[in-house]
Amino acid sequence: MPYQVVIGLEVHAELQTRSKMFCACAVVDPTQAAPNTAVCPICLGMPGVLPVVNQAAVELALRVALALDCQVAASSLFARKNYFYPDLPKGYQISQYEQPLAVNGRLPILTSQGERIVRIRRVHLEEDTGKLTHIQRGAESYSLVDLNRAGIPLLEEVSEPDLRSVEDARTYAEGLRALLRRVGASSGDMEKGAIRFEANVSLRPAGSDELGTRVEIKNLNSFRAMESAIRDQVARQSATLDAGGQVQQETLGWDDLNNTTFSQRSKEEAHDYRYFPEPDLPPLAVDDVWQARVRAALPELPHAQLQRFMTQYDLPETDARLLTEDAATAAYFDHLAAPQHGIAPRAAANWLLGEVFAWLNQTGGGMGSLPLTPAGLAELVRLQEDGTVNLPTAKRVLASMLESGRGAGEIIAQEGLSQVSDGELIAGLVHQVLDEHSHELAAYLSGKDTLVNWFFGQVMRLAGGKANPAVVRQELERQLHSKKA
């Protein structure tokens, strides 16, 4: 039976603040810091302490909420989510429940099916939990707890079940991550666990409007894990339904190593959270002035920028995506392709995504480390486009520019790299090559057509790489043709 997949995603993103959500402990890189060195009585859950909300966390959360077109509550409430688990020593997590910071947002995404709007149910603030390491030593089994991460501000974005495929889920998750990074709310660094996902997956008969029983999968720490987990669920649930069975509503964990889900029953039994309003915190007030200020300062958002790059510069979606992945690259491209530089946007994109990205990958730096202004790169692209240098030479010039910081024109003039397009000169070179390789010429004439490329290579070599390849090829074909006759 054909089924429709219905997916909702919860995305948890650590906010990029300097201090924690409810205490002044420093936010440290969890992969670098020594355990339990950024903790205090508040995040250790000691008696008699009081949480105080971090202003910057609210500011960043507002940016995300407004970028997602949410309605922001003038007054939102913090709540205690009660559960006993050693990742939070208080015995509860401070979260938001009944009155979240923001509701009813939307994120447009561009999939192979066209533009889609994914509705955002809510955006709320909470605190991250500590890190547990499970130790098995012989028969002995225990856990170690590092609370550096406990209390780092966390923003949760909950989508409506509007996603209909693995591709939708991935595109939405990537789009949300791009937005979080663009507004400066989160590093988006998946390797360091700055973003995690939970997926709700259900199936229903194709054409039906009712929602099927959903399974919740937690512990998804990468796009790959999220995709695998959804595929796994779709396979399991359709097998169950095909066999006439019923899907059980349950919460599963994702085991990244074995690519499979595991039951979280023991944790699930504790999912009777007994939420109640946090008595230690007053309702959080966000007035219109604050909202208006944050809204006015929002940068161009990734989705809008993607569409602009595709229309304004007539770029294919894949190129536009790569160019708008981070703000620095997008800004660089806007300068590079500016009309005053007089270069074709597609050529500009090819250079930036090809040679320049390759160089950045090699050096391991970001756009900020590029020792080349958009105007400098534009000059080179122009000199290649107008035929002053051929493509291989232009690539060599770029390498030299990146190494020395000199301009393209200067390098070409000083090193005599201008392309030779002089027909007579090139005819002489072709003649010389054919003359000196009578053996290969004979082979060619007796039918070994592929040798034409070899001859081409020889001519280019003789010209020191500076010959105009189109002129060379034309001349070569002309002379070979006349030999055949």
Partner: protein
């Protein structure tokens, strides 16, 4: 409002408490009495009163985002019954 024994057992499990049969019965009676007391609120006429989610006025008592030193590692771990590798050591939590 009277709690069942099963409800008491569920609450005890959530609180990670192991209760004897006598304790279960005693707490069932005590917790039921507390609920009865709170239940008296139901008698108040509230149809004309807007829902109140907090008795505190909403405001922005916010803290500037400035890190300050917390506890030293030694102070942080000092009350822990068991530690290992500068971490709190606890019974296994994932089966």
């Amino acid at each position: 409002m009277s709690l069942t024994l099963a409800e008491v057992e569920h609450i005890a499990a959530l609180a990670r408490l192991e209760l004897t049969p006598e304790e279960k019965e005693r707490f069932r009676a005590q917790l039921s009495a507390i609920l009865d007391y709170a239940d008296r609120l139901q008698a108040v006429e509230t149809s004309d009163i807007p829902p109140t989610s907090s008795v505190l006025p909403p405001h922005s008592a916010l803290r500037p985002d400035e890190p300050r030193p917390g506890l030293s590692l030694g102070e942080a771990l000092t009350n822990a019954p068991l530690t290992e590798d500068d971490q709190f050591r606890v019974p296994p939590v994932l089966e």
